[in-house]
């Protein structure tokens, strides 16, 4: 398959859907809506919503069925980036080469824009979805809420903060990545499959795929930070080490981290076998992300 064309097409579809759903700056209070849009349209790759669409397709669903949920997940991801960048957290001035939200709108509005993005995500997740049973919609939405909160992404962020500058073991790095980045990737697969009409067996397979692939993505990301060229990545490399962040290369070393990513990737691909050709986009996307540095 032509992965570039696929990614471009999905990205355009998601960007258009986000634009149609987000409140306009003409509506009061305009600065809030402007700040929400500023971060949502900051050049993200839309990895999580595209994974959700691909999971929906893998079980025979249509991409337009998951647009509300896919946009919601991207909003949750965006809110987490705004809050992570705040002076009290990572204190970042730039993200993807642009000034961070609090640098442009001030800290108070950045906090509130994040809060509003998280709340709006649940407006889209709970409005009527034609053709989807309400029980299934509630289940997908609950998985997304759970992946975002105290048992998911926020737990990972707290554990990451607590580990900063500390000597950490593999179990801690696993906990951090399983929650901080893994939870949203896993739930992208789960929600996409649920909305696409998956049965319980298929849901388990795709959850496990999300688990393995999510961890492999994270190891690849850690490796990129250590080895990557600044121009290739568009952000400073070596920052994790400078901050004493808990990463796989720091705990396992580079060679062992590479071997682990590769093993996880193979396990993930094996889990997709029962889905046949419908899972081709999922296979291509995960290969692309895990191997992007080569």
């Amino acid at each position: 398959m032509d992965l570039t064309a696929y990614l471009n097409e999905q990205q355009q579809q998601i960007d258009a859907a986000l634009d149609a759903r987000l409140p306009q700056p003409q509506q009061r209070p305009g600065r809030l809506h402007e700040a929400m849009r500023y971060s949502v349209f900051a050049g993200g790759k839309r990895l999580r919503p595209i994974l959700m669409i691909a999971a929906c397709q893998a079980v025979g669903g249509q991409p337009n069925q998951v647009l509300d949920a896919a946009c919601a997940l991207e909003m949750i991801h965006t809110y987490s980036l705004i809050h992570d960048d705040l002076p009290a957290m990572d204190d970042d001035d730039l993200r993807r080469g642009r000034p961070t939200s609090h640098r442009v709108y001030g800290e108070a509005l950045a906090i509130l824009a994040g809060d509003a993005l998280l709340s709006e995500a649940f407006v889209w997740l709970t409005r009527p979805w034609p053709g989807i049973a309400a029980e299934r919609q509630l289940r997908a939405t609950q998985l997304i809420a759970s992946a975002s909160g105290a048992a998911g992404m926020v737990a990972g962020q707290v554990a990451d903060m607590e580990a900063e500058g500390q000597a950490v073991d593999l179990a801690t790095v696993d906990f951090i990545h399983h929650h901080k980045t893994g939870a949203l990737i896993r739930v992208a697969l789960q929600a996409g499959a649920l909305i696409g009409g998956v049965d319980e067996t298929g849901l388990k397979q795709l959850s496990l795929f999300g688990e393995k692939a999510g961890l492999a993505f994270q190891i690849a990301d850690d490796l990129l930070d250590v080895e990557g060229q600044q121009e290739q990545l568009g952000k400073d490399t070596g920052r994790d080490a400078a901050r004493g962040k808990a990463t796989y290369p720091a705990v396992l070393g580079i060679a062992e981290s590479r071997a682990r990513a590769s093993q996880l990737h193979n396990q993930a691909l094996a889990l997709l076998e029962p889905f046949g050709p419908a899972a081709e986009p999922l296979r291509a996307i995960s290969a692309y992300i895990i191997e992007r540095r080569h």
Copy 2:
């Protein structure tokens, strides 16, 4: 009816339900769960959940049907207080006589505890509710999400910040209070009624009741800040004026504000007539809150 006994009973029920639902500090990451509990159990009056229960009763429902939603609403209210108190916002050191979250746990964890409370609220709002149709549950949850976000509470908070120190007109004060405090009070009534099985006519009546009563509460609160005795209220009075906050007394004067609160209260009570004796708790609570300074 014995309002004090009613309020005590509901408050105990809500506190027990919150305690049972919130993650334990023994679970990782413990500091996050501790921070969530610290603010949830900071001595709140549980006004919003009690209004939700009373609305459910007014339409013939049972209090235990709304416990998940009532706890969720209290969590959303609590997260908003944590974020409002942050140094970048109101920079408050005390709330209800205790140090604010960021004074105890630091700014980063306070932001994340707020984020986690908001996310967990939606976990409880989307898990299976026995005996409630999934469509009705989705509708109630959507109203709560909408009341919390860019078209509700967060919009009010932003407008309030923008108005600080500015000369404001009545329309702006109305916008701020309609959104900042009004939205959650209105949705307490709406969600309680929906979960209790209300029909469309009853829902409209109770929404309008929430609208009028919510505004009356806010005017009463503004008046308390101007006129109240510090010991009576347990917080500094006159702070709104010192900060140049947009309030009713500042725009309308004290006498006119009092007349408006009283008029809104009477309009609100008239809207409860069709509900008969079942709405007695709602009547008693609104009278108590609007007239508490006398």
